[in-house]
């Protein structure tokens, strides 16, 4: 999905640029941002792949491990957000 998303962008942004189908006062700036954006995403993709090499692919779908404590003096990690009773 990540790759598909990056690829779609990598195809659409240059198309929009070359065909110039939209007129907008900030068109040039937006296209510059688009190029930079795809670049950042491509670099980021390599960073993710590099950092998780050899790891279980399940990590990609894990989400944040819940780790904060409700009070400084608590021993255990919290299982919920702080709530007033």
């Amino acid at each position: 999905m990540l790759l598909a998303g990056i690829l779609i962008q990598a195809i659409i942004y240059p198309l929009v640029w070359l065909l110039g189908i939209f007129a907008h006062d900030y068109f040039a700036e937006v296209i510059l941002i688009c190029i930079g954006s795809v670049g950042v995403q491509a670099i980021g993709f390599f960073v993710i792949m590099g950092r998780t090499r050899g790891m279980d692919p399940a990590i990609y779908g894990q989400g944040r491990p819940f780790q904060h404590k409700l009070r400084e003096e608590d021993e255990d990690l919290a299982t919920r957000k702080p709530t007033f009773d």
Partner: protein, 307 residues
Amino acid sequence: MAESKSESGAVMKFVQDYRLKMLIPELLVVFGVWYFLPNLGVTFYEGNVYEIFGVWMYLFQPLSFLPSGLLLLLTVFTLHGIYPLDNYHEGKIPELPKLATLMIIISFFLMPILVAMQMLGYYMTEATEFFSRNPFWERVESVGDLLFYAGPMFFVGLQWWLVLPVFFLSQGVDGIHKVAHHETSNEKVTTVFYFLWAITMPLFFEPVEIIAMAALSIPAFAFYSYVRPYYTYVTAVHTLTFSLLILVTVFIAPWLPLLNQWIPGSIPLHTPDPLWGELALSPMIFGVVCAAVLLAVIIAAYLTHRN
């Protein structure tokens, strides 16, 4: 964590306690407001946006002789007193922080209405903790984010047409964070509200604006997963969703923004005069940027996969 905190100096402690990293989104909003100010006939260093309000202007800005744009910048800093106060409310620090209280009082004095609405937003973000965590209060929490962070857009930039799109944006941004952090009571409802963000954008914006939003928001979200790869699925969903959004945008472009098709004039003209359009347009700059990006990607691929 506690150890590293006690070792850090007074400046670092201030940066951490007052959560100065949150200045990044807040300053972006300030610059956004500054960009809109010329449409109101003032600039960020000169003029009071509330003068059209008659006597009521003193309610919005008692120091009416100062420029609203600069006062807003000052308020963003002083309102950071809210973060230590929040820690005090949650019992994370034992004593009421005096400096923080003073900072909030100063903010109230500078821009009473704006800060009142931002404080209301802050209390709305606490709603899930005071009442109960269910889909309704979670939506209220997201609207609180809207008032707190985007408040200046409305109460200083006076861009009221942005209320609806920013409502969906706040639901989407906050929603995807809730899902990633496993802190939503109903993942399905939250996910639906996230997708509403992408689905509703063609109602309000022109194609180039939507493309700009996608190009900025995708890498901004993705940075989470560059730092911590366990967020990758969220990044993947967001990347694909917004790529599909711009794909659709290209096809329905002639009719955007859709709301203006149905209710003509509901989205007013709002594009400020370009600042440096001529420079950015030159093919030289484009070529240099493309080459630099390509080079950076190749270097990154080499560095991360050289072994």
